[in-house]
Symmetry: C2
Subunit: 144 residues, 2 copies
DNA sequence: CTTGAATCTGTAGTTACTACAGGATGCATA
DNA sequence: TATGCATCCTGTAGTAACTACAGATTCAAG
């Protein structure tokens, strides 16, 4: 390990604005993640500005990537908890992932059903200038 | 007692609880729709309880049906505005529907992409007891 | 030392509900 | 008539995951 751990070569370099630029995550969101307990409170400058390092950046990337994949903050918190603990197992992580995958597939199924109905309703409607619209009819009469 | 109260074949009969039972829409939500300008303020009993009739029920069914199809309250407000005006055209209604259908298809595409990535990540992971999890790796390294 | 950009905290808005609290009403029965 | 209790009322606040200010402070360059 490095004997020159003067706490500066690896120390905070990034301002919140810099971190935002590097990750594409906006500033307010970064602060929000801190309040939400996903990002640790970073050290501050004398004046109170947040100062981040590469570890913070890695963590934020993890969070954003997970969000892009549709994980909820609760799930991400749980995943990070596992990783932070260090003693996590693949099985635990995989369980969360599969549960989420299931939810995603459920949503896809829901939306697909919606799309079919919308499509059918739209197909019935000639889009003319007449006020007797089959779409409106369908919305008033769910039973069909 | 005189159960045959006159002058109300079209008069208010339903309490909010009754309307809730008939439509499956819960009471707080009905009041919320009123505040949100989707349901009109109904007449009240002497004591101030809301009293609904068949028209209200039709309208609420329309709203719920539209919600089930994923229309936002704003869109529903717009649709109801058209219908209320009476001079709406099929074309207007169809435009809203098609716009929404487009959005739904967009969401399906997004979710399908998500599911593919999640599936692939999960497939890489053997779910073992080892802490070196490919899923965690993937979340830390979006590039791949 | 003076700017102007960046950052700070704290609060409030967004969507579509849901969940109370604390009080008033409606109605059937004793 | 009294009473009990289900139902209803208003108003507020909480949910998820941000986003958008306001008003004050700090940083870095010149």
């Amino acid at each position: 390990m490095s004997n020159m751990t003067k706490a500066n070569e690896l120390s905070p370099r990034l301002t919140i604005g810099g971190l935002s630029l590097r990750t594409g995550c906006n500033i307010e969101t970064i602060r929000y993640y801190e309040r939400a307990g996903l990002m640790p409170a970073p050290p501050r400058s004398r004046g109170g500005h947040r100062l981040y390092d590469a570890e913070h950046e890695k963590r934020l990337v993890f969070i954003r990537r997970s969000r892009q994949l549709g994980f909820a903050l609760d799930q991400i918190r749980a995943l990070l908890g596992l990783v932070d603990g260090g003693d996590y197992t693949c099985a635990e992580v995989k369980a969360t992932t599969l549960a989420h995958l299931d939810a995603v597939r459920g949503k896809i199924a829901d939306l697909t059903r919606m799309a079919a109905v919308l499509d059918e309703m739209a197909a019935r409607c000639d889009g003319g200038e007449v006020p007797a619209c089959p779409i409106v009819e369908a919305l008033f009469n769910p039973g069909r």
